[in-house]
Symmetry: C2
DNA sequence: TCAAAAGTGTTCCGGGTACACCCATGT
DNA sequence: ACATGGGTGTACCCGGAACACTTTTGA
């Protein structure tokens, strides 16, 4: 009786080979931004159970591989990109979530500049899908996507991560469209501009859009260095 | 070459037994609140590598067990409590984090009323430790604890989860002490009271503290029903 | 000259913060 | 009476929200 309490893996472990083991995978929710829409990079599954359904990009974690490493490996293999924003979100371990047996998956989301990926996308089966009109997916991947999207919404309101989805140079309009797409809200243009300009973190490049059929907008880039140097203040209790 | 890209577990899985598997555990960061201090429930490790060091409460996930179930099982076994606030936080998969082999652990934190636990704590080796003066721990458990504490800080500012650490009836002073302990800040008493009373979510019980050597404080309880009925508003972008 | 989007300021309101005094109770 | 913490109100400031007109460019 006592032994069932005390003989656990943090205290009196006997032999690890006596324990149940499961396959571990990582799944990457790779977000991009294009045509004023939040996109996610998906692949068609060929597993017979999910034939033709969209699935996230993922793979099994290797014996000598950290979880983050595995996620970066998947991302790199699929997009050619490295050094992009990535964050672990949640782990999904439903008993029957994978038809081949118990596979526990650690979900990550990452934010990439969709222009940089396009180069690597020819002749394979990857597709950028609008997050908004995506309903059915393979496995529990819709749930994973929703969870990651929710996390992204929270992050984007509190940290300057959205810029990872934009080109280095962007207009305030593009930035606003990005926020509107991620949060699925409409924002007042003047207040949005005022807000971001008053943060004093956008660097005015003294450049303008080109080839637009209207008055060209000024281009900015985000001053990450300046942001990093600022200390955060206490945020207050707000619910 | 192409095959390394396409033959992954979400698309062309061959046989799951060919893949590397790891042991999966859950670790619970069980927070309590006592003597105006944030506490965490720990156990001494008897593994020779960590003899005498403090470790979190955790155990291996069973073959037919959901991750959340496993976490609740650990919690129940150690505290006798069920139906408490619990939230998955992050998964730690460092290659050498466990001396017995690769063990990937999913970390949860939970918030319990420390009074309810005390009953079950006699004659075992569990201890409530002040989070503030806890430095060295077994495994990577200090890192796990820090991550969970950080998450708790974020949550407590945005959702009414703190009440799970208090008795059903509490004074505003106790509530303030709780926030100060979790966030490690000092708050102005008048503003704190105004804030919480203006939320109109505290139910005045028309009762008072007893046996205190000064003017007794009024007791309140949190109106969870009322909170649940309110819709959240858009929070704004704030970083 | 027209269409389309860029750019710009003011007012109002609510919440955050700083701050000091009287009150109720037990010893 | 005294010590201890409970309870209260006001003034200021800043940031969020609502809101309409002029400017620049390409077609």
């Amino acid at each position: 009786m006592m032994s069932m309490y005390t003989k656990n893996i943090n205290t009196h472990l006997i032999e690890i080979k006596n324990y149940f083991k499961a396959a571990i995978s990582v799944d990457c929710v790779i977000f991009g931004f294009n045509n004023d829409e939040l996109k996610v990079l998906l692949i068609e599954s060929d597993l017979k159970e999910y034939k033709g359904k969209w699935s996230l990009l993922g793979d099994i974690v290797r014996p000598d591989e950290e979880l983050d490493e595995a996620a970066y490996r998947v991302l790199k293999a699929r997009t050619g990109l490295d050094n992009v924003y990535m964050e672990q979100v949640q782990t999904f371990g439903g008993i029957n979530r994978h038809p081949a047996g118990r596979v526990i998956t650690v979900a990550y989301y990452s934010l990439v500049n969709i222009e940089h990926v396009e180069l690597k996308m020819h002749n394979n089966e990857l597709h950028w899908h609008s997050v908004k009109d995506l309903h059915e997916m393979a496995f529990d991947h819709k749930q994973i996507l929703d969870t990651c999207h929710e996390r992204l919404k929270q992050q984007v309101m509190v940290q300057p991560v959205g810029f990872n989805l934009l080109p280095k140079k962007f207009s305030l309009r593009e930035l606003q469209n990005l926020y509107e797409a991620i949060l699925d809200v409409e924002l007042d243009r003047r207040n949005f501009r005022k807000k971001f300009l008053s943060m004093d973190l956008l660097l005015d490049l003294n450049e303008e859009e080109e080839d637009v059929p209207h008055r060209p907008a000024k281009l900015y880039k985000f001053n990450f260095d300046k942001y990093d140097q600022r200390k955060k203040r206490y945020l207050g209790i707000g619910f």
